[in-house]
Symmetry: C2
Subunit: 124 residues, 2 copies
DNA sequence: GATACTACTATCCTTTTGGATACCGGTATC
DNA sequence: GATACCGGTATCCAAAAGGATAGTAGTATC
């Protein structure tokens, strides 16, 4: 963190940067896919099985996005019926810190909201 | 960050936590509103003016969300035509770290993608 | 009493996101 | 040669998010 969010015009840049980050991470499946791959490379059908409920169209699209952002690589092997393997890149690790913090903050926030809802509000 | 994302079943919890965090921050206007308020409390119309382009319906909805998540307070003053003031809560500061990092990561990522696009890919 | 400002809400419409279903070309299996 | 698996694509549809436009109740201004 370089400065606490403030000066009038750095704001525009900051918002754009944050929006970029949100953009590459948001959506229903990006994180689940990254986490599925975090235990090792996986093939298309295997991914589809671990993330039961994802349709091939969506999986295909998400993988393309992740590839463009250089979080995963796609490798085609010239096996009998060709096999395609998806794996995390080293660059994907640059997200670890931020993901870790989102995780901590999220847990904490959920607890907080749960407590409040007992005192009559709605969380999330 | 307590652990590097892994064990099979903590994953589900982690994903939920991350999803919560993404949820409270994502959307086109939440961050801009938080930043607009970071320079001090503001009234409805003033907010609408600083964030030119936001319609009252959306602003109203976003403010309600932010209020539910305890990032802003809504105070009604019994002035001549009543005035309503929105302000950041202390709790909203708990986001500073995470937002700071999203900002840094986003800037870095954009640079990276820009470089690559010169070598023929598309960013974001 | 017409106009204007504040803080919204209501209705309707567009865009984006996600999903269901079906299918394709290739290979391998029985 | 019928069935099945792999790695997808194509078409169509539903839900969610975002927005345009108009209107409301209340006050104050000229």
């Amino acid at each position: 963190m370089k400065q606490t969010v403030h000066t009038p015009e750095t704001c525009t840049r900051s918002i754009a940067a944050i929006r970029d980050t949100l953009y590459v991470l948001s959506g229903k499946w990006k994180l689940p896919i990254l986490i599925a791959l975090s235990s090792g490379p996986s093939r298309f059908k295997d991914l589809q099985r671990s993330l039961q409920d994802i349709t091939p169209k969506i999986l295909s699209k998400e993988l393309k996005d992740l590839e463009l952002n250089e979080f995963v690589t796609r490798t085609v092997y010239a096996t009998s019926p060709v096999s395609v393997e998806y794996a995390l890149t080293k660059y994907s690790q640059s997200l670890n810190k931020i993901i870790g913090e989102m995780c901590d903050w999220g847990l904490q926030h959920r607890k907080r909201m749960m407590n409040n809802s007992r005192k009559e509000k709605k969380p999330l």
